[in-house]
Amino acid sequence: MLLAEEYIVEMLSGAEMVIRSLQDEGVEYIYGYPGGSVLHIYDALFQQDKVKHVLVRHEQAATHMADAYARASGKPGVVFVTSGPGATNAVTGIATAYMDSIPMVVISGQVMSHLIGEDAFQETDILGVSRPVVKHNFAIKDAKDIPETIKKAFYVASTGRPGPVVVDIPKDMTAPTDKFEYNYPAQVEMRSYNPATRGHSGQIKKAMDMMVAAKRPVILVGGGTIGGRASEVVTELAQKMNFPVSTTLMGLGGYPASDRQWLGMPGMHGSYEANMALHHADLILSLGARFDDRVTNATEKFCPTARVIHVDIDPSSISKTIAADVPIVGPTKSVATEMLSLLAKSKTSPDKSALADWWGQIDQWRQRHGGRYDTHADGLLKPQQVIEAVHKVTNGDAYVCSDVGQHQMFAAQYYKFDKPNRWINSGGLGTMGFGFPAAMGVKLHYPDAEVVCVTGEGSFQMNLQELSTCSQYGLPVKIICLNNGSLGMVRQWQDMNYESRHSQSYMESLPDFEKLAAAYGHEAITVANEAELMPALEKAFAMKDKLVFMNILVDANEHVYPMQVPKASMRDMWLSKSERT
């Protein structure tokens, strides 16, 4: 007897359903590390070849790889970890993704259901541990729920304000002997979860009226413009309005840095002109920025004359720190698009003469500082000039994955990003150790792209074990280590606030990075002065198939400037060691 195809039901084990669900979700790579509670799942993984798995050397690296993949591609990254230490090792990476609103699905094994709560071997309440740092988490209580729960996990992770989602699966739910009818839902609905898909038209109209009337406007572009894939419309809107644009640390590349209208970053290490323009603005149009404390300085002194139009997909980001005059809840892309079409239909246009004055003022500010730094006559390298050189050899077109510290700020300031999703850094959590695995995650998916990890000798040592993963999978990233022999950012604060008492910010006995790289089969080049810099970079980037570790010795006494004076307004800045606004 012949059965019509739709009558054939597939019977799969829980473990097989996990893998099939990921296949049906279109997942290409999983980053992970096996262990007792996920053995059934890893066995199901072994028996197929659609979804590939990258075996990292530490679970934290798996989460950062998945995270960076998501940042570059816009699609959620997927992680497998085992129960207990596997899951807790992933927590830093989950928190990193959470703070920057990055979609990620983490599947964690759990001890068998009947052992939960008994302090079983490798039992951790990862739902409890991860709760404050996930968008949501799910526990599988019944194996037949696996496909639908995984669908929900992807749906929640990638819609609205994106974020990491953990799915905790007890081992018995994945037993190979218990089979269930498999059916991956095409879509899911959750009555309690309805993210906004467009902004309120009345509010957008009101915003547009204010924008047209504005005399000293600034557009503030944040991570929501990058994550929301809105850079193109936002750029068009800014250019049609002739408004200056400042991009936050998370928004770099959301507006082309080489364009005249770009002012640089706002905030603690923002550019002089961006902070001055914001301070004196009469209108701030924020597109997916969340006014965090590193941007606003003292909130009560923040931009005293500005009215604020705040566009954000997450209502709780609006008026959290800075009161919005016009709150607009919705995706930046659809809101900016609607603004553009209003503008096209509108009879009024931006105030040309006011804007001309405003630009005149901004150009004066630009001349005052303009991102200058002192160079040494003796050839000792400045970190800023290294970043500028990297920009040059990569034609400004690389994916730059950064660690955390001074090098991160120099990269943000001096690698001028013209495209979105190219600047990949841990902005919210500031996770040292992020940069290298992040670069690996990007390189895996964009093998033909130039992928650079900008790091410090401190940060790099937080995940250097991944040099091994790079050998296994052939991930020829270029590591630019700005080696100042110290925890530079800590040291800078100690210089500025603790009379240069360098408490625990000096690193003795750094490894011989050349030998270290060689031990894993990689290349390394040490650069000690200006004359060596460009030739070494050119040589490194010419080695297309090689991971190259660039150990670049830079001035340990350099500070990141501008730097806002704490507890003051946006315009209060140190511009160099001796010059204050």
């Binding site: 709760r131 929640v156 009555r191 309690s192 997450d314 009161a323």
Partner: protein, 163 residues
């Protein structure tokens, strides 16, 4: 200012801990909290009383709404509403005070729900000030044990919180 927020959420394991976790994680106050399933067994209703200025209360409601399992919520303090709390209280009731305590219970429209020769257990319902006033009237030295349900609240009139 004090606010009473009523929340409908999915009646699922873990949902309550998310709400409680949110309050401590974000440094919000909880004064009272009560929760029970509704007539629709897939939903729980939670009432939380909290204090904060307008900005804090706005954040509380927004952050609660953001929890995936929260279906709907209302700040009852925004409109006319009824609030009630139930208290069970064990009182020393011996000798000459026994009648006095009984009279006070009657005045407050409480009920004596359990009796021994030396103890009354009283059930009393009302808003928080009424329950506090009762304890004052009795005198703390007669109180052996109290248990309070936390505030429940509902809007007056036609308004309903449902999905």
């Amino acid at each position: 200012m004090r606010h009473i927020i009523a929340v409908l959420m999915e009646n699922e394991a873990g949902a309550l801990s998310r709400v409680v976790g949110l309050f401590s994680q974000r440094n919000f106050n909880i004064e009272t909290l009560n929760v029970a399933p509704t007539e629709d067994p897939t939903l729980s209703r939670l009432t939380v009383t909290t204090t904060g200025n307008d900005r804090v209360i706005e954040q509380i409601t927004k952050q609660l709404n953001k929890l995936i399992e929260v279906v709907k919520l209302v700040d009852l303090t925004d409109g006319d509403h009824i609030e009630r709390e139930m208290m069970l209280i064990k009182l020393k009731a011996a000798g000459q005070h026994r009648d006095e305590i009984k009279r006070t219970v009657d005045i407050f429209r409480g009920q004596i729900v359990d009796v021994t020769s030396s103890v009354y257990t009283v059930q009393l319902t009302g808003d928080q000030p009424k329950l506090d006033a009762f304890i004052n009237a009795i005198g703390e030295s007669y109180v052996l044990e109290t248990v309070r349900s936390g505030v429940s609240g509902i809007a007056r009139g036609e308004k309903v919180l449902s999905i």
